[in-house]
């Protein structure tokens, strides 16, 4: 267990700069999720920490000491690979004991620790099985036990649940949370599933194109993202072009105005989550007229998609009650953003 610091880490592969100075500070025992679209450099960051990818500039410190000079086998990290990489010629117990054997521990102590690790991931009755005869979820747990049994300073997980189906993934999320609570090891979990990131991590680091854009607690990140890109990437978002008038009001597309203090006059983008868009049958103060294009049922709620002035795409959540008599496709509705949940972003210079 230790603190992990990435300080302006740069990685260049095959002549391409993949990481452009990634900085991240993970506290002892904390679980941070690296979230970002495919190809943004999440795996590369993990591999740089593990020592499989050379770092061209910057510094990586574990427990305050630089690890850049250490080869992978001396960094004392626990890795869980996306394909689990369980050794097919070893039983579950031998797989889990591998790291302890490499550390030259004696048989009795290995057997004891392997049994504990098996109990932790609730696989005690599978010790003598070979990986080929395990289910996906069981393999995942063996990989986790194998990485944890060596008491790593940092646990690194690359898309650990990516190969599992939806239901198993939900169950394993709960398991992972429990295990992290019991073991308390500093953890970095790479994922492109935002639900996984938001539900598992103490903090989420959002990454775009080789850069960590924002690191925040999940609730804060979702409710008050600092950048438009993060707002757009996380969950569903309305990004509405608007203008701050000289008298401090926000003029929405279609002409409606809502009072708003504190912003400089000029063009802005309003960010608002669909669940904070009220659907009104008639025009109200600060509402935008829009034509319903689609209604999608999503289980716990439903989403209404509509087209506002000048082709502006808008979305709003429909409550189960509202779904009893939903607006018809093609009908005009009036969507009103809740001023309490509005976020103002600077308009990108065109």
């Amino acid at each position: 267990m230790a603190r992990l610091e990435l300080d302006r880490v740069e990685v260049t592969l095959g002549g391409n700069r993949i990481l452009h100075g990634v900085s991240l500070d993970v506290a002892d025992g904390e679980c941070v999720a690296l979230l970002g679209p495919s190809g943004c450099g999440k795996t590369t960051t993990l591999r740089a920490i593990a020592g499989f990818t050379p770092v061209s500039a910057g510094e990586i410190r574990i427990a305050g000491r630089s690890v850049l000079g250490l080869p992978p086998h001396k960094r004392n990290l626990g890795l869980v690979f996306q394909d689990y990489a369980l050794f097919p010629h070893m039983t579950v117990a031998q797989n889990i004991g591998y790291g302890l054997r490499m550390r030259g521990e004696d048989r009795a102590s290995i057997a004891k620790q392997v049994a504990e690790a098996l109990a932790l991931v609730r696989l005690s009755d599978m010790a003598e099985r070979y990986p080929a005869r395990l289910s996906g979820g069981q393999r995942q747990r063996v990989a986790l036990a194998r990485a944890l049994v060596i008491k790593p300073d940092i646990l690194l997980l690359d898309e650990p649940l990516g190969a599992l189906d939806r239901k198993l993934r939900d169950a394993m999320q709960v398991e992972l949370k429990r295990i992290h609570r019991e073991v308390g090891v500093t953890t970095i979990i790479v994922t492109h599933d935002q639900e996984e990131a938001l539900s598992l991590a103490d903090r989420v680091a959002v990454m775009f194109a080789g850069d960590i854009r924002e690191v925040e607690r999940p609730a804060t990140l979702y409710a008050r993202p600092k950048s438009r890109a993060v707002m757009d990437f996380l969950g569903e978002a309305n990004l509405i072009p608007a203008e701050v008038t000289a008298d401090g009001a926000l003029r929405l597309p279609g002409g409606a105005e809502i009072p708003h203090g504190g912003a400089k006059p000029g063009l802005v983008r309003l960010g608002i989550r669909p669940e904070h868009m009220a659907i009104l049958p008639a025009p109200g103060p600060g509402s935008i007229a829009a034509c319903v294009t689609e209604i999608v049922f999503k289980g716990a709620h439903a989403s209404l998609y509509a087209e506002g002035p000048a082709g502006l795409a808008l979305s709003a959540s429909l409550s189960p009650a509202a779904l009893e008599a939903p607006p018809a496709i093609g009908e005009t509705v009036h969507l009103r953003p809740d001023p309490a949940h509005l976020i103002l972003f600077e308009e990108d210079p065109a």
Partner: protein, 286 residues
């Protein structure tokens, strides 16, 4: 072809290959088996009909039995040595940059295409009494006088290893490329140094390639003819040579055929036992 069942279509597509196999492989083999069950005109006590007399001779005549035994021994040693030489080359091939990989692969294919006679002649020259190897040994003071290396079992083995190398390197290289890099990295992350990661994970996981390569090499060595003829002596003759002598010199076709059939059966039996052993040891692999 409308209405033809897929099975019939498949059969028709296979037919040319089947005809070829039957005409050029099964028919001669059958003829040889039948021949081996008959008496030769110059046998001491020729008998009519089919009998196992020739096999009795293969087993009991000192020369053919010793040749068979020697063939198995030379093949086993050559296979083992080929594996030891080929494995590092395959590993190198696997790790090296694309340019070198292509260069080495082309070299291997060219060597496959070059004449066996020429290659064996190369070894004759290299290992000759006044050849470069002896000159080197003398120069280094390792030997006081030139060593007799050609026309021996050792020279035969060296040339067989050289001949069989591509058949060992390619399957092993193929197996290595199918090992996901994450296995080695997993071993390293668990504290295995590069060498231990290699022996603990890559070696066992390349077993399919080792198995394929050793099987091929062993079969090739068992049937070797030209190489022991050029680099060995009559005292180190392998079974194919002794059989050829019966076909070409003694004109005893039944006895020669029996040796070849015996060689085929022994090869088959050894490879079967080897396969079963490997399967039993590695039965847990996915």
């Amino acid at each position: 072809m409308q209405g033809a069942s897929p099975r019939l279509t498949g059969f028709l597509l296979l037919a040319p290959a089947l005809v070829f196999l039957i005409a050029f492989y099964l028919v001669p083999l059958g003829t040889m088996v039948e021949e081996s069950l008959r008496s030769a005109p110059n046998d001491m006590d020729p008998r009519a009909g089919l009998h196992l007399f020739q096999y009795d001779r293969v087993w009991n005549s000192g020369r053919s039995w010793r040749a068979l035994e020697r063939t198995v021994r030379i093949s086993a040693i050559s296979t083992l040595l080929t594996l030891l030489v080929a494995y590092p080359i395959a590993l190198f091939l696997f790790q090296v940059r694309a340019f070198w990989r292509t260069a080495i692969l082309i070299t291997i294919f060219v060597s496959l295409a070059s004449s066996l006679i020429v290659r064996n002649y190369g070894w004759l020259v290299t290992l000759a009494d006044a050849g470069p190897v002896n000159q080197l040994l003398l120069a280094l003071g390792i030997a006081d006088e030139p060593l007799r290396m050609v026309y021996s079992e050792g020279a035969t083995i060296v040339a067989l290893v050289h001949y069989a190398l591509p058949f060992m390197i390619l399957p092993i290289y193929g197996a290595l490329t199918r090992i996901p890099p994450s296995f080695v990295e997993a071993a390293q992350s668990l504290g295995a140094g590069p060498w231990r990661a290699l022996f603990g994970t890559v070696l066992p996981l390349s077993m399919p390639g080792i198995f394929g390569g050793t099987t091929l090499t062993f079969a090739i060595c068992m049937s070797a003819f030209v190489t022991p003829l050029m680099l060995g002596s009559p005292a180190t003759a392998m079974i194919s040579q002794v059989a050829a002598e019966q076909f070409l010199v003694q004109l005893n076709f039944p006895f020669g055929s029996a040796m070849i059939v015996a060689l085929t059966l022994v090869t088959f039996a050894i490879l079967l036992a080897y396969t079963l052993l490997i399967r039993a040891v590695f039965r847990h692999h996915a």
